[in-house]
């Protein structure tokens, strides 16, 4: 099959060039992939839990898990692209909070739902743009830059309403429309899950099949080499920080719609869960490795652990320990695979 394609395109291909097509089979690729093993872990936990607690596989619980993890997983998809470039974005939690608050203020002041969404998206892109420009063009450390914007975005969220929550309940038709649009359950699946599904497919496609995606990996592999070979490194870097912020903004809108009000502490410390998700899903903080699906399955694992411990009646204080152990396990798994 691959032979036909290659002979057609190249013409000048010897038989020995074809033989290696066999060498890395799908099975081998799968077995050496971290997302595969994390997927297996998730399935294993699901199987075990279905025996431990009959409520685990109930529609209601399934609905809860998928919606809860979607908020984190949406951001993990964006974060993954940043981490592949060997960057980090600590500002996503604060960006989520700022976007939720800005959109809530917009809508509660009588503006239409579309305006609120536009304000939210624009806010998130602005944060991502600032991050990206400072990191790519001024060559500042991603850790420090996004630590700065983490602080600034959270502070702006507090300033916006003086830390007063903004409710979307009983403030008018537009607020109701907003909640229906973003917190509904089309075809029995909650909107955040649909959004996550589409986002994951789009980003996974972009990473694998576009020059942009190729460049994201190249920057993480050897930034200097990418630059020397004409990869627009600075633009690509700005784009990944904007994508990361955009996913935080999308998540902010979804959380706002689901909660029905904006609190000034929305998203606080979520950046750590997002980063943990991407790392569990196989992204390497040194750059060059990671996938959109990995971030999603990593987020799913964390949520399933939390949910399982809850249903198994384990004291919730233990959740952090279990999640932490899985992070360490994921890093060890990566070492072992090499």
């Amino acid at each position: 099959m691959a032979q036909d394609v290659e002979t057609q395109a190249g013409g000048n291909v010897a038989i020995k060039d074809m033989l290696h097509n066999k060498e890395a089979t799908w099975l081998q690729i799968m077995l050496s992939s971290q997302p595969f093993w994390i997927t297996m872990s998730v399935l294993a936990i699901v199987v075990v839990m279905s025996f431990v607690n009959e409520n685990f596989l109930s529609t209601g619980n399934f609905f809860n898990i998928t919606r809860n993890f979607s908020f984190i997983a949406v951001m993990a998809v964006g974060m993954t692209t940043v981490i592949i470039t060997a960057g980090i974005d600590l500002s996503v939690g604060s960006t989520l909070g700022l976007v939720a608050m800005a959109s809530a203020v917009t809508i509660s002041n009588g503006y239409p739902m579309e305006a609120a969404i536009a304000v939210g998206i624009a806010t998130s892109l602005a944060v991502g743009f600032v991050n990206g420009v400072l990191i790519a063009h001024l060559r500042l450390s991603p850790f420090i830059v996004t630590l700065g914007t983490l602080s600034i975005a959270r502070s702006l969220t507090l300033i916006l309403t003086g830390a007063t929550p903004v409710t979307l309940r009983r403030v008018g038709e537009e607020a109701d429309r907003f909640r229906e649009a973003l917190a509904g359950t089309p075809l029995g699946v909650s909107t955040p899950v649909w959004v996550l599904l589409v986002l994951t497919i789009v980003v996974a496609f972009m990473l694998r099949y576009t020059a942009w995606g190729r460049h994201v990996y190249a920057i993480g592999g050897n930034e200097q080499a990418a630059r020397l070979n004409g990869v627009p490194v600075d633009q690509v870097k700005v784009s990944v920080y904007m994508l990361s912020a955009l996913t935080a903004g999308i998540s902010g809108l979804l959380v706002l719609a689901w909660a029905g009000s904006a609190l000034s502490n929305f998203g606080q410390t979520w950046e750590l869960r997002v980063i943990a998700s991407t790392v569990i899903g196989g992204a390497n903080l040194m750059g060059g490795v990671g996938s959109a699906y990995g971030g999603v399955i990593g987020a799913a694992l964390i949520e399933i652990i939390r949910n399982s411990l809850l249903l198994a009646g384990v004291n919730t204080f233990w959740q952090g320990t279990f999640v932490g152990l899985f992070i360490l396990f994921a890093v060890l798994l990566e070492k072992v695979r090499k």
């Binding site: 290659e6 190249g10 000048n12 290696h20 099949y209 190729r214 993480g220 070979n229 004409g230």
Partner: protein
């Protein structure tokens, strides 16, 4: 006619004068060996030609037209390819992905322009075949030997109809057998009328393939002559300063 001509190129890094009015000429199908001790200015000169640095003063003429390169990509667009000393490879990508880095082949699907994997694998495979290298397009560079990595970097330089290939110490870190292969490749480039600027510390390699030799010392050109008019002894003297100029 000179393909590439540098006129009185100078480069200052702060108070340090790295290059002092260096002239250089290279013609199509010619291999110019550029030699000099560490800090003589060879790499700086190559980086100016390749568009990594801008000269403080002087002119770069390509086919008798003055050119200004602000970035490496501009030099490449003008037919100047560079094989960097560290090879500038991304370990996490495949051989084919490295060969096509920055100039990926794409095909249109509706409004989308997506990577054309099969065409890139095929073309990279053909290039490795021409180089008689066992490098496989789908292999990750991380898993490759030094010689295979070299082949990837050289295949990249042959991707287009380059007029000039700059090679920075291509034989510094590879096995004896691979050195022979790289020197063969340089000859093949020359036979295809490509000009090769070979920066090297290795006297035998330069004398094996170069048509002309240029020696630099402390940012100045101290010799520029046909290889047949020189000798390793003379070049050693020029590099160390035992011979003032030739």
């Amino acid at each position: 006619m000179a393909l590439l001509e540098l006129r009185k190129i100078a480069k200052n890094f702060g108070a340090i004068r790295a290059l002092d009015e260096v002239d250089l000429r290279v013609e199509p199908g010619q291999v110019l060996g550029l030699m000099g001790d560490n800090g003589a200015g060879k790499s700086t000169l190559v980086k100016i030609i390749a568009g990594n640095f801008r000269a403080t003063s002087g002119a770069i003429m390509l086919n008798d037209e003055e050119v200004h390169f602000h970035r490496p990509i501009e030099a490449r667009k003008n037919g100047i390819e560079v094989v960097y000393q560290d090879l500038a490879l991304c370990d996490n990508l495949t051989a084919a992905a490295n060969v096509f880095l920055g100039r990926e082949l794409k095909r249109k699907i509706g409004p989308l322009r997506i990577l054309n994997y099969s065409a890139m694998y095929a073309r990279a495979g053909a290039l490795f075949g021409e180089l008689k290298s066992e490098t496989r397009p789908r292999d990750l560079v991380r898993q490759m030997s030094g010689g295979q990595r070299q082949a990837v970097a050289i295949a990249r330089a042959r991707l287009t109809d380059s007029q000039i290939v700059l090679m920075d110490e291509p034989t510094a870190a590879i096995s004896v057998r691979q050195v022979v292969e790289v020197l063969d490749l340089i000859r093949r480039l020359r036979d295809q009328n490509v000009a090769v600027l070979l920066v090297s510390h290795r006297m035998p390699d330069v004398f094996a393939v170069a048509d002309r030799i240029m020696v630099m010392r402390r940012g100045r050109k101290v010799a520029d002559k046909a290889i047949s008019d020189s000798s390793p002894e003379e070049v050693t003297g020029l590099i160390t300063g035992a011979i003032e100029a030739a």
